[in-house]
């Protein structure tokens, strides 16, 4: 049966739309309006002509009411999902800046809003609110003075005001650094827009639009909770994967249009890399769909949560699939170690070197959105979406079971999805802090030679699991346990199976197997 929790936003909005439309329908005049006019016959025409309809506003409205309701419902849901995505996405740059700072043993951004009233080390903008007309500034003046005396410069304690004077050390509970993303984005908005002289102007302007539009469209099909989705077609998984793959086209356009050699190479690299990684990604996602038996993301999650369906998270059934999905998603959103298209080291900034100001800011945000979408998808496909970990086992406990299940029913499903997604983004950042950048041809070779066959194996394994071992009711406990243990063992054996003898003899265990150097130039062999 479909999972559900109290935060039934689609239900509320549907009922609200139908309620409001019914009220409108009732208010409308129900009597027929007869606007029939008969023009008497005269010398010019013999029989009288009747002109004008007889219509009833209420019945006319009734005929269009369902369409109106669904339109209104769709608008509300789109705004709700977009708003939820944008607000919850604010944590992503914060996690990135702070966690990568901690991994690098430093503090990371500590910007706070306080310097609005505190000013910069004692220098403030003067009584700027007096410039507001009609004396509107005075309340702002009061507020600033009040804040200044509690948290600002004119605090009576000398030390406090000296520290506040610095105005950039945030209080810990104010999440210091959280507003750095705001500050960056506002600065992008006020930057001058420069188009290179002989850039391909139309394509230069269209490229950010393509990237941003497709990235936001992906979230139309991503359900945040059982009842929080903008659209829930039967094949939502396929729709989303299709739209997810369009953004690299925009990346290539941007690279081409900027008329700069670096961006051209960056654009071509991204096109090559994403085609190499689109196929293993789709096959892995196909494996998930096969295992959960449906192309609809909500049904996939229900299958993992359902007491009577699967009741096992896919990560335990398909650890190889989870790993493949993680690797291909990192390549898809172009984060280190698959960071070639915007490799700072040799391409200055890769395909977006020529973009500055708001266009670059939006593409910067689009990249975070794609990473955020990747994390949410991983949470939905493999970590059981909006099911709390050990939800049913905990609530079946003898003593505290009742209380726990009550608490679980209070917490909306969307909070679990967000927690898992943010945790996964921390894993993305961790990978970014510890790995180097893989070279372009090695990326492609790794994609074609290792990921593709592995994803095939994973798909076959999913089919076998689904057809042979699944008997309609929930998985027998030993199946996921066996799969996890075996794949864990396999991974450990393969990963640390160093060629011991080679290391002692200092033979080179990893001399690159790349394609023989296609070097037209003189290469000293």
């Amino acid at each position: 049966m479909a999972s559900s929790d109290w935060m039934d936003i689609t239900g509320w909005s549907e009922s609200f739309c139908s309620w409001s439309m019914d009220n409108v329908h009732d208010i409308l005049p129900s009597s027929d309006i007869d606007m029939e006019v008969t023009i008497p016959s005269t010398w010019a025409w013999q029989n009288p002509i009747t002109v004008g309809p007889i219509f009833n506003i209420q019945s006319g409205f009734a005929s269009i009411q369902p369409a109106l309701e669904s339109f209104m419902h769709a608008t509300i849901m789109c705004t709700v999902v977009f708003g939820m995505m944008m607000t919850t996405m604010l944590a992503i740059p914060y996690i990135e800046r702070k966690f990568i700072g901690r991994l690098m043993d430093r503090l990371g951004a500590t910007t706070t809003l306080r310097s609005l009233w505190v000013g910069e080390s004692g220098v403030t903008a003067g009584e700027w609110w007096n410039q507001l007309p009609f004396g509107m500034g005075t309340p702002i003046g009061w507020a600033v003075n009040a804040l200044n005396s509690t948290w600002g410069n004119s605090h009576e304690l000398e030390t406090v005001s000296r520290v506040n004077n610095r105005s950039y050390h945030g209080y810990w509970f104010l999440l210091p650094g959280f507003f750095q993303a705001f500050a960056d984005f506002m600065k992008f908005a006020t930057k001058e827009h420069i188009v290179p002289r002989n850039a391909d102007k139309v394509v230069y302007e269209v490229a950010p639009v393509i990237i941003l539009a497709t990235t936001v469209m992906v979230f139309a099909f991503v359900p945040f909770g059982p009842h929080i989705y903008a659209a829930n077609p039967e094949l939502s998984l396929i729709f989303m994967m299709a739209i997810f793959g369009v953004a690299p086209l925009g990346v290539f356009f941007a690279g081409w249009a900027s008329n700069n050699k670096y961006t051209l190479i960056g654009g071509m690299r991204s096109a090559a890399q994403l085609t190499a990684y689109e196929i293993p990604l789709l096959i892995t996602v196909l494996g998930v769909a096969v295992l959960s038996g449906s192309f609809n993301i909500i049904e996939i999650v229900d299958f993992q949560m359902g007491q009577d369906e699967g009741n096992v998270w896919n990560i335990f059934l398909m650890p190889l699939g989870a790993l493949l999905f993680l690797v291909t998603m990192i390549a898809e959103v172009e984060r280190i170690p698959f960071d070639m298209p915007e490799a700072e080291a040799e391409l200055v900034e890769g395909w977006w070197t020529e973009y500055g100001g708001i266009r670059w800011g939006l593409m910067f945000a689009a990249e975070y959105m794609r990473a955020y979408a990747a994390c949410i998808l991983f949470a939905l496909f493999f970590l059981g979406g909006w099911e709390a970990p050990f939800q049913h086992t905990l609530s079946d406990l003898p003593l505290v079971g009742g209380l726990i299940s009550f608490v679980f029913s209070l917490i909306p499903g969307v909070s679990w999805v967000l927690l898992k997604a943010w945790g996964l983004f921390a894993v993305f950042v961790w990978i970014r802090a510890s790995l180097h950048r893989v070279r372009t041809d090695q990326i492609l070779e790794f994609g074609w030679r290792y990921l593709l066959p592995l994803s095939m194996v994973n798909l076959v394994f999913a089919m076998v699991l689904r057809l042979m071992f699944w008997t309609g009711e929930p998985w027998a406990l030993w199946v996921p346990a066996a799969v996890t243990v075996i794949s864990g063992g396999l991974f450990v054996v393969l990963a640390i199976d160093e060629d011991k003898e080679a290391l002692e003899v200092q033979r080179r265990p990893y001399s690159t197997q790349t394609v023989i150097k296609a070097s037209p130039g003189s290469h000293r062999d």
């Binding site: 800046r97 700072g101 690098m104 043993d105 430093r106 503090l107 990371g108 951004a109 500590t110 910007t111 809003l113 310097s115 609005l116 000013g119 910069e120 080390s121 220098v123 403030t124 903008a125 003067g126 009584e127 700027w128 609110w129 007096n130 410039q131 507001l132 007309p133 009609f134 509107m136 500034g137 950039y168 507003f179 750095q180 705001f182 500050a183 960056d184 984005f185 506002m186 600065k187 908005a189 006020t190 930057k191 001058e192 827009h193 420069i194 700072e344 200055v348 900034e349 977006w352 070197t353 020529e354 973009y355 500055g356 100001g357 670059w360």
Partner: protein, 198 residues
């Protein structure tokens, strides 16, 4: 509002945008809404600009290592929103940290032109301020302000990372006064702000 050779009769969107733009502008000005929005939005965008100053990843000489040290973990400059980008299009501060030779004069002016407004220039170290120990050399310009206007000077050879971060603080103080109320709160002296001298 129309360039020469423009066909007046043909209705095009460019003309429409201009007309609408001017009309709304006049209306806002008349209803003083422009002031309200201008002042409030000005303060927010000023805060945004101050809090995220992206210097260019340009390392000329020894001060570049102090810039790197300022970016590293001991004197973390990212605490104050200083994030090094390597493309001039995405930077607001050109941190010149070494001597400008005649050969590098044209490239540094081109870098300065590539940066979008509003942009600032910080001359870090003696070489960028006045040619430093090489002021007599046949190949070194005496200071960066022979070629580009400089906003903040940070003396020192090389200045310590704390001085660099204090230089960014001086720049923020300069930015906060942009669009501020011209009353006595602002120090009258317009002498160049040398960090550490007051």
């Amino acid at each position: 509002m129309a360039e020469e050779g423009q066909n007046y009769s043909v209705f095009n969107s460019r003309m429409l945008v201009d007309v609408v733009g001017d009309v709304t502008d006049e209306a806002l000005k008349a209803s003083r809404m422009k002031d309200i929005i201008g002042v409030l939005a000005g303060r927010m965008f000023n805060w945004g600009q101050r809090k995220s100053l992206f210097p260019l990843h340009l390392g000329i000489k020894c001060c570049a290592l102090e810039m790197a040290a300022a970016g590293a973990s001991r004197f973390d400059a990212e605490r104050f929103g200083v994030f090094f980008r390597s493309s001039p299009r995405q930077c607001d501060v050109l941190l010149v940290n070494g001597p400008v030779s005649k050969k590098f004069a044209d490239p540094i002016v081109r870098l300065w032109e590539q940066m979008p407004e509003p942009k600032w220039c910080i001359a870090m170290g003696e070489c960028a301020i006045s040619g430093g120990p090489y002021f007599q050399s046949y190949n070194i310009l005496e200071g960066v302000d022979t070629v580009i206007p400089v906003d903040v000077y940070i003396p020192g050879c090389p200045p310590r990372p704390e001085a660099l971060i204090d230089g960014f603080d001086k720049l923020r103080q300069k930015i906060i006064r942009i669009g501020a109320a011209p009353d006595d709160a602002i120090p009258a002296s317009t002498a160049p702000m040398i960090p550490g001298d007051e």
